[in-house]
């Protein structure tokens, strides 16, 4: 059947009409091969315009349509719908951009006319080779798997658990709440963290559409977006959660004591244990690694102590196969292992704590019941808080974790609350207090304490000296333009008496030692331009003597995340965080369609940011995986012709979406249309030209090239 191509030229009001000889263009288009008419219309995107096109499709039997108007980025989808509603396949359309890329930019009317003709010819040549593409649909599972039951995972799960959709919440540890539930108070408002989480924990545990799988780990992930098949091993708890009432009678009799990882190894626990007081679900777990029964010894003391027959030694691990449409990775963070930075004396000197350890000291569910005590049980007199441990340093991790300055301010405040007499030394190289409230809370705390933290334009202008047994800090007021000239500055010099504020170039240049039962550390003060040169300026090695040190180590991606990354075909950066699809436009998606990364698994952030991401990923899932609806796939994907494919595998390596796979049996490549994004990289790469890039085929593009170059 002969082609019946209809060409429409939009005047776009005066925009196109006045910029070229539009009648000339129409006459030219009319005589092109296959074109049955070339109509000029005032405004094609108007109701009348769309009706005209629809009418022509019916009455003129149009087989293909060319619309010369504004950019396809404006109205391609509009006109596709118009012709589709009129019964013509929406892909039998080519838009010619004679507005943004012609009328508006070619000032010479004659040349604009010539260009328009050339572009329309190219479009007619191209459209003649368009294929009627059909949107495919695939069955999709609306259910979702969330990995990690911290605050982020729980937020995502709660947002996702809608009618007709189930959420599986898989958690490696025996309890929910992640890190946050083990804090006492969170900045900036110092609300109680467990209290804040309580409603969410309760809802998650009792939600009829959320299935919580604690002590569970992912073993295998197969399939793709809409149809993931995930194997999960639910390790045996050896405690019947239905029968157990959480009375804790089984704990006392257990003869085994091991290091308690839920209290950051500061205390001991038994082989049968609750991770911490109030941990949910409210049932203990038996640690098979340390329980005597699993070391071929007889012991049934916990079972004997239980009045509710809740201990079940026969329980075995279960393997579950979950069929889900999307996966949300909320595996959280770990702290930089400070043992790798020996200058801090961590692990060697007593009373040097990481922030997570300090949180457990502060927490009422911790082993000290919220008392901040030194290892000898005494109250500390002088506490040093050190920022950026293993952070913002080329020696360790370069990134800023974004939350440590905030929580160190919190620690300072809480310390002062508990011990008004305590002396706090805050050692930092920069202060980072972003967000709506943090800086303000910081200002408020400072006022309460009578400690004024002062922001200085250039810390090299500080002059720190000793005056009357206290350290006096001279600093210039803001507005000092020339930081080299100290004479100018003396005019505005203020004296300030604080306990001590020490700015260093790099807090990782500290050396902490134990001297006479006290913790001593050496640091290079700033003012010295060159850290190595101690003669310059007023800097030098200072000796400072304290009782307790709290370190704020860098936040890094959870160490175990690497294993999960492999299974999910995700990549991580050098700090262990999963890589997002696009840092600004798709921060929670990944290049693996259907797998999302949220919270600290994606990057260091505060609770608000994490929760927002969890809800964002939920939003993305909710909008596309609709229960009862199939997943529609964009038809402009790649397709391998098996008759031409030689199995050379060159295409496999170029697809970052893992959409092209190699069939080991057939020895041919194949494209998964659910994963293909239509970029065309494999099409251009295939040395046999065996891959077709639908709607952007070699032939279509070459016809367009031919058309624009012909005289």
């Amino acid at each position: 059947m002969a082609e019946q191509i209809g060409v429409y030229i939009c005047e776009c009001g005066p925009n196109i009409k006045d910029a070229m000889n539009i009648d000339d263009v129409a006459d030219f288009a009319q005589q092109l091969d296959g074109v049955i008419f070339a109509r000029i219309f005032r405004l094609l995107c108007s109701q009348e315009g769309k009706e005209l096109i629809a009418k022509d499709v019916h009455e003129q039997g149009l087989t293909r349509v060319v619309i010369a108007a504004c950019s396809p980025k404006e109205h391609e989808h509009t006109f596709r719908k118009v012709i589709s509603d009129a019964g013509l396949n929406p892909y039998m359309l080519q838009i010619v951009n004679i507005r943004e890329q012609c009328s508006w930019v070619i000032k010479d009317k004659g040349r604009a006319t010539d260009l328009a003709k050339s572009m329309i010819k190219a479009a007619v040549y191209r459209v003649a080779h368009h294929a009627a593409l059909e949107t495919k649909e695939i069955e999709a599972q609306p259910d979702v798997l969330v990995v990690g039951a911290g605050i982020t995972g729980m937020s995502a799960a709660l947002t996702l658990a809608q009618k007709q959709r189930k959420v599986y919440l898989v958690e490696r540890s025996p309890c929910l709440g992640g890190k946050v539930v083990r804090y006492e108070e969170v900045f900036p408002n110092l609300e109680c963290a467990p209290c804040m989480l309580e409603p969410a924990l309760d809802e998650v545990l009792h939600h009829e559409r959320i299935e919580v799988l604690t002590l569970s780990e992912i073993n295998e992930v197969l399939g793709f977006y809409g149809n993931f098949i995930v194997k999960v091993t639910k390790k045996s708890r050896l405690v019947d959660m239905q029968a157990c009432i959480g009375c804790r009678a089984c704990i006392e009799p257990c003869p085994v004591e091991v290091s308690d990882e839920y209290n950051e190894s500061l205390a001991k626990r038994k082989a049968i244990y609750f991770p911490f007081a109030g941990a949910l679900p409210n049932a203990p777990a038996i640690d098979k690694e340390h329980c005597l029964r699993f070391k071929s010894q007889e012991c049934d003391l916990c079972q004997k102590a239980c009045q509710f027959a809740a201990i079940n030694y026969e329980e075995t691990d279960q393997v579950r196969e979950l069929n889900v449409g999307a996966i949300v990775v909320a595996t959280g963070f770990d702290l930089f292992d400070v043992k790798n930075a020996s200058q801090f004396g961590y692990g060697k000197i007593e009373n040097v704590y990481t922030s997570l350890e300090f949180e457990r000291l502060l927490s009422s569910t911790g082993h000290t019941g919220g008392e901040i005590l030194k290892k000898d049980g005494q109250v500390p007199e002088k506490v040093a808080l050190i920022h950026c441990v293993g952070s913002r340093s080329k020696k360790f991790h370069e990134h800023c974790s974004g939350v440590c300055c905030s929580y160190l301010v919190k620690f300072a405040h809480l310390l002062k609350q508990k011990f008004p007499e305590v002396s706090i030394v805050d050692i930092y190289s920069d202060f980072c207090l972003p967000g709506k409230q943090t800086q303000k809370s910081f200002n408020d705390f400072s006022k309460e304490q009578g400690v004024e933290f002062v922001r200085v334009n250039d810390t090299n202008d500080l002059v720190i000296s000793e005056v009357d047994g206290k350290i006096s800090v001279k600093y210039p007021v803001s507005g000092a333009q020339d930081d080299k000239s100290l004479e100018k500055i003396t005019a505005g010099l203020r004296d300030l008496s604080v306990d001590m504020v020490v700015r260093l170039n790099d807090t990782n240049d500290l050396a902490i030692n134990e001297v006479d039962g006290k913790i001593s550390f050496k640091y290079a003060g700033s003012g010295a331009q060159d850290d190595k040169s101690l003669e310059k300026g007023t800097a030098g090695l200072r000796d400072l003597s304290v009782d307790m040190v709290v370190l704020a180590p860098a936040i890094v991606g959870a160490v175990d995340a690497q294993v999960l990354a492999q299974m999910l075909d995700l990549t991580t950066d050098e700090n262990g965080f999963f890589n997002e699809e696009h840092s600004k436009l798709s921060p929670v998606s990944t290049t693996t369609e259907g797998i999302f990364i949220v919270g600290c698994a994606q990057g260091p952030q505060d609770i608000a940011g994490s929760v927002a991401q969890g809800q964002a990923a939920a939003g993305k899932i909710l909008s596309r995986l609709v229960p009862g609806e199939k997943l529609t796939l964009d038809p402009c994907t790649a397709e391998v012709d098996e008759d031409l494919c030689s199995g050379c595998k060159t295409c496999i390596g170029v697809c970052i979406y893992n959409a092209v796979c190699y069939d080991e049996e057939k020895k041919r490549a194949a494209v998964n249309e659910a994963l293909c994004r239509g970029c065309g990289v494999c099409v251009a790469t295939c040395p046999s030209a065996a891959i077709t890039g639908k709607h952007f085929t070699d032939e279509q593009i070459l016809q367009e090239v031919k058309g624009v170059l012909e005289d």
């Binding site: 950019s71 943004e100 890329q101 065309g680 070699d698 090239v705 170059l709």
Partner: protein, 137 residues
């Protein structure tokens, strides 16, 4: 060369450079009528054969404009284009095609000004070189 108006084919990627050209259009910045745009989804779609076909069809110059490195909508498509282009440039040397006749560059969606700059420069360079004399006989 006097009076010579070269014809250039510009392969523009849907997400960045094509939108960059549209940006120039919206700001009504003048650009040369010598440029014939051909839209692709990604600069990584540009097969080296397209470049040669363009030359064969009497294009005097060819541009491939993609997203800035790191910004590709498809993450690494532009890097694939860069790899091909680097090798293609070397392969074209014995063919005698002057270096200035083929350009791979990066223009983002908001860089209307840059788009205009890049194409004007290219047109001027190719004007100086004259028409592409395909092999005869």
């Amino acid at each position: 060369m006097e009076g010579f108006e070269p014809k250039l084919v510009a392969f523009l990627c849907n997400w960045c450079s094509y939108s960059g050209a549209d940006s120039a259009g919206k700001a009504q910045k003048e650009f040369p009528a010598n440029i014939r745009a051909v839209r692709v989804m990604c600069s990584g779609r540009v097969d080296p054969q397209f470049v040669l076909e363009a030359f064969k069809n009497k294009a005097d110059g060819v541009l491939i404009l993609g997203c800035h490195p790191g910004d590709c909508h498809y993450k690494e498509g532009n890097y694939k284009a860069l790899r091909r282009y680097t090798l293609l440039k070397e392969v074209l040397k014995p063919f005698g095609i002057e270096d200035e006749r083929l350009l791979l560059d990066w223009v983002s969606a908001s860089e209307g000004n840059r788009f205009v700059e890049v194409v004007w420069q290219m047109v001027n360079n190719v004007k100086r070189l004259g028409p592409l004399p395909l092999r005869s006989g």
